[in-house]
Symmetry: C2
Subunit: 342 residues, 2 copies
Amino acid sequence: MEQNGYDAPRVRTIADLARLAGVSPGTVSRALAGKTLVNPETRDRIQALATEHSFRPNQMASRLRTQRTGVIGVVVPLGHERRQHLSDPFFMTMLGFLADRLTEDGYDLMLSRVIPDAADWLERIVDSGMMDGVLLIGQSDQIGTIERVARRYRPLVAWGSSNLPGQVHGAVGSDNVAGGRLAGERLVARGARRVAFLGDVRAPEIRDRFDGVAQAMAAAGLSQTPIQLDTPLASDLMERQIAAHLDQVAGQIDGIAAASDVIAMTTLRVLADRGIRVPDQMAVVGYDDLPIALSAVPRITTVRQDIRRGANEMVSALFRRIAGEDAPSVTMAPTLVERDSG
Amino acid sequence: MEQNGYDAPRVRTIADLARLAGVSPGTVSRALAGKTLVNPETRDRIQALATEHSFRPNQMASRLRTQRTGVIGVVVPLGHERRQHLSDPFFMTMLGFLADRLTEDGYDLMLSRVIPDAADWLERIVDSGMMDGVLLIGQSDQIGTIERVARRYRPLVAWGSSNLPGQVHGAVGSDNVAGGRLAGERLVARGARRVAFLGDVRAPEIRDRFDGVAQAMAAAGLSQTPIQLDTPLASDLMERQIAAHLDQVAGQIDGIAAASDVIAMTTLRVLADRGIRVPDQMAVVGYDDLPIALSAVPRITTVRQDIRRGANEMVSALFRRIAGEDAPSVTMAPTLVERDSG
DNA sequence: TTGAAAGCGCTAACAT
DNA sequence: ATGTTAGCGCTTTCAA
């Protein structure tokens, strides 16, 4: 079509198409939306015409009119850990599952990576009029902000804990204390008596994991609390930092609880460099159960969070909230995946 | 504010705010946009009022009016490999860098994961009127479609090769043949004489890498072409498949070129299970240089693609195209990162 | 410097 | 079953 060199003016609007079809814009709108109140014949004719001219209605206009955007905002707030990059495997895995699910349900996904220095970072997002709902991956240290906004903006669900009394925003998360306990118990069962915890406890979920490990140690009658050692998230720094930490506590520990599989994997790497055998001389337990845990040498024993299920729960809760229903917070139980590292 | 229990009706529109300020909507619009043609005093007064009522203009309306969306679409087409999940580390790393850069430049990022079964999947996206430009991560087997759309839709840049004669869409990629050659040369230098290539050559970039490896082998005077072995992308399947492959060619090969670091890492895992020492008995070279390559045991020798730079080049090219300028395709040279696995 | 008014392109009453 | 009309909330001429 349009091979004559005299291009017909491009069909850009419903009005254009209506003129071409000899009907009114309203009819075209109905026909394209597949509504029942149009004569099947006109509907087909209009749809054919639309295809022929590869016409697609302007979404911006449609969304302004219907006040329904078909977009879900997925926001990653980077609080205390500004250096953290979006490519963190946990975020990415979560994001992947969210994208899968939202796409299936016909929603688009708008991604924002925000460093919450402006006090109204979340307001800016929810009040932009650009999305039907917002999903937060991680609450970081922004629970106050999140609660404030959630008080008046319902379709908001966050990944993270829901232990706040009277909490109004929907939260989906796993029980990090229980997860930490699982890790601690495993280390004890493997004969560890003195363990180090690798992770930055300024993040509340990491703090919970640490507490869980400590509880397990105490329950086993070990008087010492775990040695907590910070780890930066950036991968190049992480290895050096972990190496420095481990050299410092060399000989004093026989077990390591890592706050994530990424940390665990880097730890294995550092231990291998030092000729320390895992798990014989040092038991290592990870957290998350990302695919890399399975490909590491040795395979990483880890506390599994069901990220796919988490993503699905988040989306389901959000949809319920968009529909005006209530959606309770959900806390999932972590499980221990026993492999070879500890 | 609004603590009296009689909430003032929420200020939702510019008209609301105008009424409150005793000016016209036009003036509010100008004031909020910080335009110069408003009296500084009225401007400040209006801005203060907006802050007080935490008013934020509706983006949908603004964008419809200005015909500028501030949104860049990032699209991952999953062609021949439908099972591939968005959480593929390469995609995710790329996405992370793109998000960083786009956020910096004040754009929002709309993510679509499409399975291109409908012939007009890309048209649907670019004609939605929802974005100012589109970035494609990977061309999959959709070059035809991409070219067709790019012919009339300029702001389109894809990650991938640009070897098509007369290619009209902008492409940013690395030279996969050269990369494959690098891998092959390294294996030869390490004493490998008979190598296997692990990767699915139906993807054009993987095919190029295979060809590069083959070229290197030939240049070294080795008559045998590499044995090509398919690998599924799903992580659980991948390990079993690789194990089966390697058992089948056991004893016949002394080097492995992996199409990605993920494949390389899984390969190391399988070799460790079989007690095959790397690199002494088997040299392994990866591709991409993802963070995991550095944490693997042993550290993976790999062909590095500068993903961060790639992301930046893509965005820069896209912005130039949005501005109506021309942006040539760019091909980056891969480099060899020598580590321990091969 | 500000106001009035005309749309951006679409949809949904309402009317026919 | 289809047409007419009035907006969605904003920006931007044009006029004052």
